[in-house]
Symmetry: C2
Subunit: 197 residues, 2 copies
Amino acid sequence: MLKYPEPIAKLIEELKKLPGIGEKSASRLAFYLLRAPEESIRELARSLIDLKEKITLCNVCFNITDITPCYICREEREEIICVVEDPLDLIAIERSGAYKGRYHVLHGVINPIDGIGPESIKIKELIERVKREAVREVLIATNFTVEGEATAVYIIDLLKNIGVKVTRIAQGLPAGSDIEYADRYTLSRALQGRREL
Amino acid sequence: MLKYPEPIAKLIEELKKLPGIGEKSASRLAFYLLRAPEESIRELARSLIDLKEKITLCNVCFNITDITPCYICREEREEIICVVEDPLDLIAIERSGAYKGRYHVLHGVINPIDGIGPESIKIKELIERVKREAVREVLIATNFTVEGEATAVYIIDLLKNIGVKVTRIAQGLPAGSDIEYADRYTLSRALQGRREL
């Protein structure tokens, strides 16, 4: 059986680690890159390294950003904090155009099976922030999965103790689905239909 | 509309240039990479750069290689030269297991519309090699496309003048198809059914 030259085999190996890229796609990409101009390969390699070097978390909302506080935290926005699991959820909600407030990114959900407790995600930071800032509402927009719901319940309990108004994004989304993949219209309806808890 | 932080937007832009990767796949990959360990990103970036720095063309057969002459040219093989358009065709033929000879990679086909004449691909090098080496047969395995056939005809004419035996891979492959994508059984039959010209 023919072996690829080592640098090609290595690149195919690395590409296959990416989600949705199998043996065939990885080979096709590797041979495409082999023919591509050196400069464009260097650009791609540089972008990969920059990603890790230049992206940090906003020290207010913990969204990914290249400046801190991030540009959303710098904007004049409604004094509502929308709590999401990860940055892709934030992006989906921003794109719906139905929300004009601030955000708080948890970076995960409580998941005891995987050993992720409340202290592993940005819950403490949320509570401190709500106490510190003039927040008139906290809108919980974790996913409608078992872990997302459990995380919502946990946070709602803590916030009720503070006395702030707490809302949950409406069940316009199908049960068990991810916010990240919802279309903007479903998301708009879910945002508008939020109910007080 | 929300903008991604610049380093993410840049990476998505670079990923979208790759074949088969659109906006959605590029975003998904970028966010996957954002969460991946720094070391694995550096590995991927390093593999990309190594690809260009370590891969050269064999100075005998012009296959891609990290040593020259390449490991196929270093092997004891039958004194047949199989002429292919590009390295992926060579790989497909090697994988069929039905061919034990040598190769010559043209790196393209004659295509006047795109301004690719016989001097743009490794035809001169093939002729010199056939004159120089003790070759008992040249097997033309360019694709059965218009350009592949035209290139075959052009090369066959030159080789006939030298007086070497020239064969063409059999029409077991569907017309208009690429060798690169043929299954190994179809390829085996096509190799076995080659006819003298």
